[in-house]
C-alpha cells in the first residue's frame, strides 16, 4: 500500500516508506480547460497527483468533477475544444504534454492502457473479437498475425472467456456485457502496459458481474505488477479494490489518503457527505439517505475561496474568501479550513 505524505500539493514529498520513492506517474498542477460560449470551463483546475509503482488509486467524485477529464488529459485524448493548458504529466520522467503525437501513439495502448465505461459501444461491431485483441499487439509488440493470434487466444482464456478458440471469430453482438468488458480488459492488458486507467469499468454492468470484473482486473494487475487508476463514484469499489483514494471536487483534489483512513476518518465535509450518502446495512427501512445539498458548481464561473462553500454546512467568511490548500492530517491530506474532529467509530 502506498502512502503519500507531503505538505505542499505542488511538490509532493514522500516519507521514504514507498517501495520505490519515484512515482510512475506524476501530475503537477494540471489545468485542463474547455473554451465554450459560456466562457472557459475549468474541468481540471490545478490537480496534483502521484501514482506509485504497483498501487491502485481510486479517483472519486460526482459526475462532472473532472475525473474522466484527468484520465483523458493523461492519454492526450481530450475532445475537440479541450486542452491541458498548464501543468505537467510526467510518466517515467517524460512530460506527456510535450510528447509528439507519434510518441503518444506508442505510449497509448503500449505503456498506458485504458478501459472504458461502456463495453457495449467501445468495441467495433464489424470486426471479430480476436482481431480486435490482436490489433493492439500488432501495433505495439510488432508481432506477426499468427503470433498475435496465439497470444490473443491465451488472453481470452486468461480473462475467463469459455472455449476461446470458438469465440475468437465471434462479433461483439454475440457477447454479453460482462463478456465484452472481459474482452476490453484483454485488449487493455495485451501489451503489458505499466499503467492502467479504468474509467468506471463496471458502471454499465450488473452487480454480480461487477464483482467478477473487479476481481479480474485486480488479479491481472497484481500478476503483472501494474499500476492502476480507478475512476469511479462507487465507494464500494474504492473500499474493495484500491490502496489509496483521491476525492475530487470541481476539478480539484479535496482529500487524498490511504483507503482505510479516508473511509473511516473522512476530514473534508464533501468526503463525509459522499460517504454519508452510501446506504449502510445498519440503516432501517424508511430512513432517508444523506445527500449533499445543492448542485455541483458551474465550472465556467467558480465561486471564490473554497469551491465547496456554497454547499458546505460549515462554511464561514474565511471559506468564502480564501482557498484552502491540501494539509496533512494523520495519514491523509485534506483541503479544508474546518477539518472536523475524527469521527468516533
Amino acid at each position: 500500500m502506498g502512502t503519500d505524505r507531503g505538505s505542499q500539493p505542488e511538490i509532493p514529498l514522500t516519507d521514504g516508506t514507498e517501495p520505490d520513492g519515484i512515482p510512475l506517474l506524476q501530475i503537477k498542477a494540471l489545468h485542463t480547460q474547455f473554451e465554450t460560449k459560456q466562457g472557459t470551463v475549468r474541468a481540471v483546475d490545478g490537480l496534483s497527483l502521484d501514482l506509485y509503482e504497483g498501487e491502485v488509486l481510486g479517483l472519486v467524485g460526482e459526475s462532472g468533477c473532472g475525473k474522466t477529464m484527468t484520465a483523458l488529459s493523461i492519454m492526450r485524448l481530450l475532445p475537440g475544444n479541450g486542452q491541458a493548458v498548464a501543468g505537467e504529466i510526467k510518466f517515467e520522467g517524460k512530460n506527456l504534454l510535450e510528447c509528439s503525437s507519434e510518441e503518444m501513439k506508442r505510449i497509448r495502448g503500449g505503456q498506458i492502457a485504458m478501459v472504458f465505461q461502456e463495453p457495449m459501444t467501445a468495441l467495433t461491431p464489424t470486426m471479430t473479437i480476436g482481431r480486435q485483441i490482436s490489433e493492439a499487439m500488432e501495433i505495439h509488440l510488432d508481432l506477426s498475425r499468427d503470433e498475435a493470434r496465439e497470444r490473443a487466444l491465451e488472453l481470452l482464456e486468461h480473462v475467463g472467456i469459455p472455449s476461446p478458440r470458438a469465440r475468437f471469430d465471434n462479433y461483439i453482438h454475440q457477447f454479453s456485457g460482462g463478456m465484452r468488458q472481459r474482452v476490453m480488459i484483454a485488449i487493455a492488458f495485451s501489451c503489458e502496459p505499466r499503467l492502467l486507467l479504468a474509467d468506471e469499468p463496471t458502471t454499465a454492468l450488473d452487480v454480480t458481474v461487477q464483482a467478477q470484473i473487479l476481481d479480474l482486473i485486480k488479479q491481472l494487475a497484481q500478476e503483472a505488477g501494474m499500476t492502476a487508476l480507478f475512476i469511479t463514484h462507487d465507494m464500494g469499489i474504492v473500499a474493495g479494490s484500491c490502496d489509496r483514494v483521491a476525492v475530487m471536487y470541481a476539478g480539484r483534489m479535496v482529500e487524498i489518503g490511504p483507503v482505510d483512513d479516508v473511509l473511516l476518518n473522512p476530514r473534508h465535509p464533501y468526503t463525509q457527505g459522499l460517504l454519508g450518502s452510501v446506504p449502510s446495512l445498519d440503516s432501517k427501512p424508511g430512513d432517508r439517505l444523506f445527500s449533499v445539498s445543492g448542485l455541483p458548481p458551474d465550472l465556467a464561473s467558480l465561486p471564490t475561496g473554497c469551491k465547496f462553500w456554497p454547499r458546505c454546512p460549515l462554511a464561514d467568511d474565511r471559506c468564502r474568501e480564501e482557498e484552502p490548500m491540501l494539509e496533512q492530517y494523520g495519514e491523509s491530506q485534506a483541503a479544508c479550513w474546518k477539518v472536523m474532529p475524527l469521527r468516533v467509530e
Binding site: L77, K105, A122, T126, E135, S163, D169, Q174
Partner: protein
C-alpha cells in the same frame, strides 16, 4: 481429453469461424426475395452482354410488312409499329438499362464518397460548399433537372464530337449516334443523383467518428490510417452498398423516364422507356407492345430493390438473428 470434457465441448460447440462477408452471404442466401434479386441481376448482366447473339434479328431491322404483330413463332414477343422484333429490342434495352445503371452508379458513388468524405473530414468551408451544392441539387425535381441538363448538353457534346472528328479524324461510329445519348444520359443522371450518397457517406463518417469504439482505438495508439481502414470504412460500407444497389434500380428507372419523355435515348436506340412511349398510341389495339417493356422494367427494378433490402439485413450484424 476425457470423455466428459468431450461431451462438454460438444455442448458448447460454437458455429464455425466465418468472416463478415461469409456471414453476410449466407444470410443473403436465406432470403428468398434477395435470391430473386440476385437472379434478376445476373440475368440482366448476361442478357446485356450476350443479347445480340440471342436473337436472329438486329434491333434496328425493320419489316414494314409485319407491323404491330402479336406473339408468333418468328417473333416471340411480336413486332412494333415499324416491324422491329420486340424481343430483340427488349434484349437490347437491357444493355442500355445495365450500362446506365452501372456507369451512373459508379459515377454517383465516386462523386458522392469523395465529396461526402471530404466534407466530413475537412469540415469548414469545404463541408459547407459540398452540402449547399447538395441542397441546391435536391431542391430541383430530379427528372426535370436531368431533362434540362440532357437537352442543353446534347448539342454541345455533338459539336465537340464533330470537332474531334474534324481535327483528328477519329469517331466512334459514323451512322449511329446512340453512344452520344448514352454519354449525355450518364452525365445528366450522375449530376442529379450524386447528393444522396454524399450525404449518406458524410453522415456515416461524422457519426462514426464520435463513437466510443473509435475513441477506444485512439486509446490503443492506432494510427489514423488504421482507424479509417479497419474501423470507419467497414462500418459505413453496409449502408453504402445498400444505397448502391437501390440506386442501380433508381438510375435505370430515371433513364426509362427520360427516354419516355423523349429526352433520353433517341431512336433508333433501344430503351425500355423509349419503347413504351413509342407504342403508347397503340396501347388500345396492341397493349402487349406497352406491357412487355413495362413489365420487364418493373421486374428488374423490383429485383434490385429486393437485393438492396436483402443486403441491408445481411450486412447489419447488430440486426442479425440467430
Amino acid at each position: 481429453m476425457t470423455a466428459e470434457a468431450n461431451t462438454q465441448h460438444e455442448l458448447f460447440a460454437m458455429p464455425e469461424q466465418r468472416s463478415l462477408w461469409q456471414d453476410a452471404l449466407e444470410q443473403l442466401m436465406r432470403n428468398r426475395l434477395a435470391i430473386f434479386g440476385v437472379f434478376v441481376a445476373l440475368l440482366l448482366v448476361f442478357v446485356s452482354i450476350f443479347g445480340p447473339w440471342l436473337s436472329p434479328y438486329d434491333y434496328t431491322q425493320q419489316n414494314l410488312f409485319r407491323i404491330n404483330e402479336g406473339p408468333s413463332l418468328d417473333h416471340w414477343l411480336g413486332t412494333d409499329g415499324l416491324g422491329r422484333d420486340m424481343l430483340t429490342r427488349i434484349l437490347h434495352g437491357a444493355r442500355t438499362a445495365f450500362l446506365v445503371g452501372l456507369i451512373v452508379t459508379i459515377g454517383t458513388t465516386v462523386l458522392g464518397v469523395v465529396l461526402g468524405a471530404a466534407g466530413a473530414f475537412l469540415g469548414g468551408w469545404v463541408d459547407a460548399t459540398v452540402m449547399r451544392m447538395a441542397d441546391i441539387t435536391m431542391a430541383f425535381p430530379d427528372i426535370l433537372l436531368a431533362a434540362f441538363i440532357s437537352v442543353v448538353f446534347r448539342e454541345k457534346v455533338l459539336e465537340l464530337q464533330l470537332q474531334i472528328q474534324e481535327q483528328y479524324g477519329w469517331t466512334l461510329s459514323e451512322s449511329n449516334r446512340v453512344y452520344l445519348d448514352y454519354l449525355v444520359i450518364f452525365g445528366a443522371l450522375t449530376l442529379v443523383q450524386w447528393y444522396g450518397k454524399a450525404r449518406l457517406v458524410r453522415g456515416q463518417i461524422l457519426s462514426l467518428r464520435e463513437k466510443e469504439f473509435i475513441e477506444a482505438e485512439r486509446a490503443l495508439g492506432a494510427s489514423n490510417w488504421t482507424i479509417i481502414l479497419n474501423h470507419l470504412v467497414p462500418n459505413s460500407l453496409g449502408p453504402l452498398i445498400v444505397s448502391i444497389t437501390v440506386g442501380f434500380g433508381g438510375a435505370m428507372l430515371s433513364e426509362a423516364s427520360l427516354s419516355f419523355l423523349g429526352v433520353g435515348i433517341q431512336p433508333p436506340g433501344a430503351s425500355w422507356g423509349e419503347m413504351i412511349s413509342d407504342s403508347l398510341g397503340q396501347w388500345r389495339f396492341n397493349p402487349h407492345l406497352v406491357l412487355m417493356p413495362g413489365i420487364v422494367l418493373a421486374i428488374v427494378v423490383l429485383g434490385f430493390n429486393f437485393l438492396g433490402d436483402g443486403l441491408n439485413d445481411a450486412l447489419n450484424p447488430e440486426q442479425r438473428r440467430r
